[in-house]
Symmetry: D2
Subunit: 134 residues, 4 copies
Amino acid sequence: MRYLTIRELRTAAENMPFNKLIGVRVKRRHADGVTIECVMRDELRNTAGVLHGGVAATLADAAVGIALASHFGGRRACTTTDLKINYLSAVAQGKLIARSHLLRIGKKLCVGRVDLTDGQGKLIAVAIVTYMLL
Amino acid sequence: MRYLTIRELRTAAENMPFNKLIGVRVKRRHADGVTIECVMRDELRNTAGVLHGGVAATLADAAVGIALASHFGGRRACTTTDLKINYLSAVAQGKLIARSHLLRIGKKLCVGRVDLTDGQGKLIAVAIVTYMLL
Amino acid sequence: MRYLTIRELRTAAENMPFNKLIGVRVKRRHADGVTIECVMRDELRNTAGVLHGGVAATLADAAVGIALASHFGGRRACTTTDLKINYLSAVAQGKLIARSHLLRIGKKLCVGRVDLTDGQGKLIAVAIVTYMLL
Amino acid sequence: MRYLTIRELRTAAENMPFNKLIGVRVKRRHADGVTIECVMRDELRNTAGVLHGGVAATLADAAVGIALASHFGGRRACTTTDLKINYLSAVAQGKLIARSHLLRIGKKLCVGRVDLTDGQGKLIAVAIVTYMLL
């Protein structure tokens, strides 16, 4: 079995249309997950001028999906079945960084936890995401 | 107390930067919530070519936020504290419609349920979203 | 295929050890789910003297599990994979009633929503529960 | 401000009626949370003969509640507002151990993550629980 190089993983993830619209960047690959990020820009704000909750949810979803692509070498199709995110603090500027940890890789279901931090390392949200292997 | 007209509500919601990027449209106001939608386009797709889970999460978040803006006449600032969404089916084309039902309007916390359907009325996701009044 | 009678369903559900400890009773079978309940007693209280959140979570879990037992005639083993509950109001006495609605019955995953009310019909919690068929 | 001794914390937590019914034991206090556990017994089983999901949900809820009692010295009343738990593996016997980590202690809302393991240290569930300070 051949694994994806970090460059291949990055290309696959960053060219997914919605990830591209948001501006998702793959930063690192870890033993149990990945670190991805996006940079705040005006299009990602809500009425209060801070990062829209949907952007953080998108990053949480992507951080687990990309970790699974890395784990399976991109050879297993999968789809999100549930996502839960708790918002702890608002992000007004800078980066939003999502670090996923795969907690369970089953025959049908895979579960990951995602810690989302700002550029200063402050925890701003935490998520649990489930994917079903197809 | 003056309520927002549907036109004012629509203008406020649709001009929020991230809602605009996604293409959120406010369709109807109900006694207990709102109906909003977005139309599928290539930028909203994931690797599998279907609607990215982050778009559905964004619509769920927005459907409760806009319902609260309608309920409070836009005079109460609030922020999402938790969002949970279960994906039931994929959306390949057409519309994604989100109908929110406010279940609790408390002094601090407000909770809404959101049923997400495609253009044929098929239930494709269900969400529960909590907002904290600031 | 033979369906369970309501008596068979009741016997199976109410004799499950933990359901028995809590005092779960099966009240009605609906086209899309079931109604179950338990009666408040001192053992089910928390420090504040109201119903412990774990009891409501247990009822939510059971309401979907029993609905699936009813749907499949008790012939499909299944296990809870995720449960999310939002507490809207405290219950100090009387009944806790859980009405499940099966939203999706898939080949692998089944999802149900549960509305939990007190004896006066007040919504006190809402849950979404996923089961995996084994 | 006087903190609770571990003995006081244990007494308060273990005498809460529902915790007592389940058999919750407080094992350790950490800088950011607590470790609690319960021992499997027949009354806690479901139809499949393994630990009922409601027991794990109860432990998750309790692990965050007891961590907050420890943090605030038992002087702040609080109530669970949402709980989400993902079940990763079944527990057939032995202990269920819940280790909470307080992620956010706000003026209104407190959020904790709970890792649930069996007696061999295998991760069997993960939860996120929110409490509102009253």
